[in-house]
Amino acid sequence: MISKFLRTLGFAVISMSTVLTPTVAYADDSNAVVGAVIGAPLVGIITGSVLVSMSKSKYKATKADKYINSDLDMKRQYDNYVKTTTDKRKISND
């Protein structure tokens, strides 16, 4: 199942790259065309995925949240401060 998913994903990425790369290059500096070229396949894939997921409702249960019988009984806990880091990034040349 995972290999099938990866195959489909790989196919989608290659297809998108094949269409997107030359089109974006051709679009030059036009943001509108770039937006259209990126938006079309992206929304198309999302639409298809959402519709397919609506037709599928079987899944493997991995959680038992509904069967918890008590509050979490905390035996031990600590939060030890370690360090602080600060990064600085230039956001504009103006």
Partner: protein, 362 residues
């Protein structure tokens, strides 16, 4: 003695559990009985009590006697019973606990499959009647990608009410997590954006208790499907009585509690981990170590109601199931690839226009 079947105390006709009315209903004289009333009426029929001595044992098939099961697959694990009503042979596999005689329609409960080690402790009786199940499936199948040719009406007749065996695991999980947690703050000053990250070394160690985590004990049903029809509402959990099986099919477990335990353990340990992580109130929580120790204090055997059916569409088999208590439907519907392409293209067109407009503003 024959297998167990339930007779109307008034007229003696075959009587079944009726989900819609939550009682036994005689179709012939229209009388209704609660389980307690029916049990009291049968008090004199002591021979019907479930003991090892008086339940009918299955007979082994002779070699080559039957090789095909009902669904067309070759059966090599079949056994034979006699119908208590008409005497016909009933061929089932070894794990069938209740069925219906194909010749006379008599409901037959295989006593030997529900005594001793196979005696369930609990049962949730059917609450959703077949008619409602059929309507629910019609609603369930109304999805945008369902092919028009997928005829819902032709498949609903194959619906079968089946009691599925479940193991219910109760116990606790002692878990501890060690994580690196980060609180992040971002602000702007002049032409610069600053990001401050505070790092913490965090430990959480706690115990979480669980009650009746269900795992199906039948190899014949898909694990994913049985997981998906949860949850069952345990407020309807009743002490097991074979009378509830009357009129439905039932399976006894063929996967024991040890074999099914890893599925319950995985769920319990994942939920414990989540609960521990949820106590870490930071922007980012990276769990580096998770130690866990699950202790099971009790395992109960129960039967839960489901409506099941298989159907074939374009040579591919599809399986659907409905929770017979809550009415929740699950299954993977066939997908019309032409519809999928059209809807995706419409989505792509919309996305293209949206992208064009947004890009134009940037």
């Amino acid at each position: 003695m024959a297998n167990i079947s339930y007779k109307c105390p008034t007229c003696g006709a075959e009587i079944f559990w009726t989900a819609a009315e939550n009682c036994f209903h005689c179709e012939y004289c229209d009388d209704k009985f609660s389980l307690e009333e029916l049990t009291a009426a049968m008090e004199n029929q002591k021979a019907d009590a479930l003991t090892e001595e008086n339940v009918q044992k299955h007979e082994e098939l002779e070699e080559g006697e039957y090789t095909q099961s009902n669904d067309g697959t070759v059966g090599n694990n079949l056994v034979k019973y006699s119908c208590s009503h008409c005497g016909s042979e009933i061929i089932t596999d070894r794990s069938t606990a209740a069925t219906v005689c194909v010749y006379c329609g008599n409901s037959v409960v295989m006593g030997e499959q529900i005594i001793n080690d196979f005696a369930p402790k609990y049962i949730i009786p059917f609450k959703v009647p077949k008619e409602k199940c059929m309507k629910s499936f019609a609603d369930f199948a109304k999805k945008p990608l369902t092919p028009k040719k997928f005829d819902v009406n032709s498949v609903v007749d194959k619906l079968q009410g089946v009691y599925i065996p479940f193991w219910l695991y109760s116990g606790s999980c002692h878990g501890n997590i060690k994580c690196e947690c980060i609180d992040e703050k971002t602000w702007r000053q002049g032409n610069y954006e600053y990001t401050e990250k505070k790092y913490y070394d965090v430990l959480r160690d706690g115990v979480l208790e669980f009650d009746k985590v269900p795992v199906d004990g039948s190899s014949k049903t898909e694990d994913d499907a049985m997981d998906s029809i949860e949850p069952f509402d345990f407020k309807d959990l009743k002490p097991f009585n074979a009378g509830y099986l009357s009129g439905y099919l039932a399976e006894r477990y063929d996967e024991d509690k040890e074999k099914c335990y890893p599925r319950a353990q995985l769920r319990i340990e994942n939920t414990t981990r989540d609960q521990l992580v949820n106590t870490c109130k930071y922007d980012h929580v990276n769990v580096q170590v998770y130690n866990k120790n699950t202790k099971i204090t009790g395992v109960d055997y129960a039967m839960f109601p489901t409506w099941l059916f298989y159907t074939t569409y374009e040579d591919k088999k599809y399986f659907f199931a409905m929770n017979g208590q809550t009415g929740k439907f699950i299954g993977n519907l066939p997908i019309d690839k032409i519809k999928l392409t059209i809807y995706s293209l419409i989505g792509a067109l919309g996305g293209g226009i949206l992208g064009y407009l947004l890009g134009g503003f940037m």
